[in-house]
Amino acid sequence: MTEWTEITKLDQIPRLGSRVLKAGGVDIAIFRTAKDTVFALKDQCPHKQGPLSQGIVHGTSVTCPLHNWKIDLASGEAQGPDKGCTNVYPVKVEGDSVYLALSADEVAA
């Protein structure tokens, strides 16, 4: 069953930055844009599994720190001529809290 869980407060994620969420066996990168929109992606670049959470956030993209692939935060897809996609998780901000929806098997995975 999927339900919304509060994971942190918005002010705990730096603007144009990210935090890593350890959820069972999965690392999820929680990003915050300049306009305070929050996105959640599996913390793994489709190229060579680089940690996207460590990249530079700009607009609604993040650039992977290993080989500069640019990943769209909303879709998880690589941009430009590069091809590949990483998982996207539903995330929302209510008041000053950030919520993530994650199913039980995803946590266990």
Partner: protein, 811 residues
């Protein structure tokens, strides 16, 4: 309602303008395109390889009809526009189709020039301009034997080569005694002539065509000296002339071409002209690179931005004849007072000539070995002073240091499976394939699609050579004024100047002042702006962690598995048993999987989890260590040899001086990483002559060396000067670093920087200008007050905690 944009001319310049426009604003116009030819947009410059059978028509299509549909563009193909009704703002085609416009772009290109001699109307006389001409020539090559090509320029020779490869017996007729006289000097032209003759081409020089003979089709060509030559077909390859008939009939002011201003507008500001039909500041262009420059500017204006200006182009030429490497740019015949530098090797079949005026390259002709064409072209366009590299300039860029590619300078001779990019394992074949199948024109595009030359960059010259030999003169050389990234039109120098003269003190202000296209920049420009602001406004500008590459944010080097490496600073490479014990204890406590002594004489601990970093630093901090900045665009290490305390050859206290230098310079942020070394004698055990700043001690004092690099491209330092005291070493070193910090481009090492600005310039600033040197040194010392804060200690004490602490999922 959307405004209407009409393009007349479905060729490379016009369609490129639309592509540039769509990149900036995709929804600003309802777009219609008229093209006289019945195709989508194809790469006209690749018609010669099609003629020669090296490529097919499909391979040279740039925009198929689906592209027009995808972008909601109305394509009227095969319809020639015959009238522009400026009063009612509409264009009318041959078949009566009429479309209204708010803005109109004329890109009608040019017509082949048919010399007006008797018989030029006869069947069998063919121009060389479009797909139809190529079809006619291919058809002729199947049924006829003898071809005469009139014109020994670029166009004529490419046509002749193609027909010859199709099995025809080809004679080229040229009016002058020099082939390609607009691109080559006599010696290069003679080499070309010999090579073409060897391939079986007949050349008739200094012949003027008087008439073309024949009854129902051509049979011969007669020259003014009375001689004749048999011909089944005659190809006119003498040149092109801008197609201005439509514009002229609409009352637009035309000379040889349609006159345009710096935003590519004609006399009627609603009407633009781009490409071969346009005449800008007295010049018309027949090559592709300038047309693309024009397209960018025109699109910028159409998108209602209007800040881009076209200021003319400097062009270079390549001949697309398989197996012949030839490059020409600028003024290749020396005028009075110019110098010519020539390197000729008849046995190897190479010829290189540079024309030098006022210490700058004005033109280049290369035959046989063209790998350095793009480098000479760059020196020429950037107006680089060459006094310091004169002695070796003719041997090429790789002679400035071995780029690791040895003799592989003739890209045409390389096999398809030769590896070009060693970082990413990309071969020649893959690059050529990407260039042709995806229609790439720029180095940036090749990098994006293939990753070649996108990592260390040492193969850039080879990739550029492949690009130019594949697409010929269409190769869009990197503009001399290169924007920092896609977020801006401004170059590094522009941004540095704006920050300095307009006293811009935050990233937001810089982006607003310079009209950045994206609100928060990108991963390329943000770290650059952050650095420039930090360098210019020490103590005032607040460093922005989110604009730093992860290594500088996490104060460790990210490894491929996402872990980090930790390198504690050991001043001058010296250490005590207690310090070594402390490092060993940390390694044990945090189960560090691997340790290594680095090239800079420090100890590296690999595989530390990010969460553990603050703990590791806390323990190291207690033992007296600070960050080694092995992860930063910053002062890295000062490498030293044993020095006179122990070494029987030592002349000075090299370790002591190394420690002093490191105490002075640690913590300073730089455009790129910066390494120092101090050797105690000329045996140079600390390898000081491949460092950014190296000191070699001699009995009488200290030699100061600058601009060395032991990385991608090995470069030995230049000798800056000799000084007598340690105090002077510190002052000169600080001043040199500060000059580099203030004037180099972000991510430019000292080696290319010294080559770009020249050693003489740096000597002028550091040696000749004594007051200037002292001022630089004092600015360096001032900025060090703010920079010498140990980032590890801060974080070990709880700073930036969020950066290192993951969130836990409790749900």
């Amino acid at each position: 309602m959307k405004e209407k944009l009409v393009l007349v001319g479905n060729g490379m310049a016009g369609v490129r303008t639309l592509e540039e426009l769509l990149k900036i604003r995709s929804d600003s116009y309802e777009i219609s395109v008229f093209g006289a030819e019945p195709y989508g947009n194809y790469n006209r410059i690749l018609l010669s390889p099609v003629l020669a059978g090296d490529k097919t028509i499909d391979e040279i299509m740039l925009n198929d009809e689906q592209w027009y549909r995808d972008n909601e563009i109305n394509l009227y193909k095969g319809r020639r526009v015959v009238e522009i009704d400026r009063a009612h703002r509409k264009v009318i085609a041959e078949d009566g189709t009429s479309v209204g416009y708010d803005r109109l772009v004329i890109a009608t290109g040019s017509n082949p020039f048919i010399i007006p001699v008797p018989g030029s109307e006869l069947p069998g006389v063919i121009a060389f301009r479009d797909i139809r001409d190529v079809d006619l020539m291919l058809d002729a090559s199947r049924h006829h034997k003898k071809a005469v090509v009139i014109g020994g320029g670029l166009l004529g020779l490419e046509a002749a080569n193609g027909l010859m490869k199709r099995g025809m017996e080809v004679t080229v007729v040229h009016l002058l005694d020099t082939l390609m006289e607009r691109q080559l000097d006599k010696p290069a032209a003679d080499l070309l002539k010999a090579s073409l003759q060897e391939r079986g081409l007949n050349l008739l020089m200094e012949r003027q065509t008087e008439s073309i003979l024949g009854n129902d089709r051509v049979s011969a060509v007669r020259f003014s000296d009375g001689s004749e030559i048999e011909a089944d077909i005659v190809v006119m390859g003498v040149g092109i002339k801008p197609n201005v008939d439509l514009a002229r009939s609409a009352g637009l002011y035309c000379d040889r071409g349609i006159i345009v201003n710096d935003t590519l507008q004609t006399f009627d500001p609603r009407i633009y002209a781009v490409g071969e039909c346009a005449q800008h500041r007295g010049t018309t262009y027949g090559l592709v690179a300038p047309l693309f420059d024009q397209a960018r500017v025109c699109a910028n204006h159409l998108a209602q931005l209007g800040y881009a200006r076209y200021e003319g182009s400097v062009t270079s030429t390549k001949l697309k004849v398989t197996g012949i490497d030839l490059f020409s740019a600028g003024e290749f015949n020396e005028a009075e007072g110019d110098e010519a530098m020539v390197l000729q090797d008849p046995a190897a079949g190479t010829y290189k000539k540079l024309v030098i005026r006022d210490n700058r390259v004005k033109g280049a002709v290369l035959y046989g070995d063209t790998i350095d064409g793009s480098w000479y072209f760059q020196l020429m366009r950037e107006g680089t002073a060459i006094a310091d590299i004169r002695r070796t300039i003719l041997f090429g860029q790789h002679d400035l240091g071995d780029a690791g590619h040895g003799d592989e300078t003739r890209v045409n001779a390389l096999s398809n499976d030769s590896e070009i990019c060693g970082c990413n394992g990309i071969c020649k074949g893959e690059i050529v394939q990407a260039i042709t199948s995806k229609g790439l024109f720029t180095l940036e595009e090749v990098r994006a699609h293939t990753k070649a030359s996108s990592s260390c960059g040492s193969c850039t010259g080879l990739v550029e050579a492949l690009l130019s030999s594949t697409v010929g003169e269409g190769y869009d050389a990197t503009p001399s004024k290169k924007p920092i990234c896609a977020c801006t039109e401004y170059s590094h120098d522009d941004v540095i100047a704006a920050i300095k003269t307009n006293r811009l003190k935050s990233m937001e202000v810089v982006r607003e002042f310079l009209e950045w296209k994206s609100p928060d920049g990108c991963h390329v420009c943000r770290p650059a702006l952050n650095y420039y602001l930090l360098a210019y406004w020490p103590g005032e500008y607040q460093d922005d962690a989110q604009s730093r590459f992860i290594n500088e944010r996490a104060h460790g080097n990210i490894q491929k598995d996402g872990s980090y490496s930790v390198v504690p600073r050991m001043f001058g490479g010296l250490c005590t048993p207690d310090e070594l014990r402390a490092i060993a204890d940390v390694a044990d406590k945090y189960s560090v999987p691997e340790m290594k002594v680095t090239g800079g004489q420090r100890i590296d601990l690999f595989g530390v989890n990010k969460e553990d970093l603050p703990g590791v630093w806390k323990d190291l901090s207690k033992a007296g260590f600070i960050s080694g900045h092995a992860y930063g665009k910053a002062l890295r290490t000062v490498k030293t040899c044993a020095g006179k305390t122990w070494c029987r050859f030592g002349t000075q206290n090299s370790t002591g001086l190394g420690v002093q230098l490191e105490k002075l310079t640690w913590g300073s942020w730089m455009p790129h990483k910066f390494k120092l070394a101090v050797s105690g004698c000329p045996r140079n055990c600390a390898e000081a002559t491949i460092k950014d700043f190296g000191v070699v001690c001699v009995d009488s004092g200290y030699e100061l060396h600058i601009g060395g690099n032991g990385g991608i491209k090995v470069r030995v330092t230049d000798l800056l000067t000799r000084v007598e005291t340690e105090e002077e070493v510190l002052e000169y070193c600080g001043a040199f670093i500060q000059l580099y910090r203030e004037e180099a481009h972000y991510l430019e090492r000292t080696a290319p920087w010294v080559e770009r600005v020249s050693l003489s310039y740096i000597k002028g600033r550091i040696l000749d200008d004594v007051e200037g040197r002292k001022a630089l040194y004092s600015r360096f010392r001032y900025s060090q007050q703010f920079a010498q804060v140990d980032p590890w200690k801060e974080r070990a004490e709880g700073g930036e905690r969020n950066e290192f602490t993951p969130l836990r999922f409790a749900g």
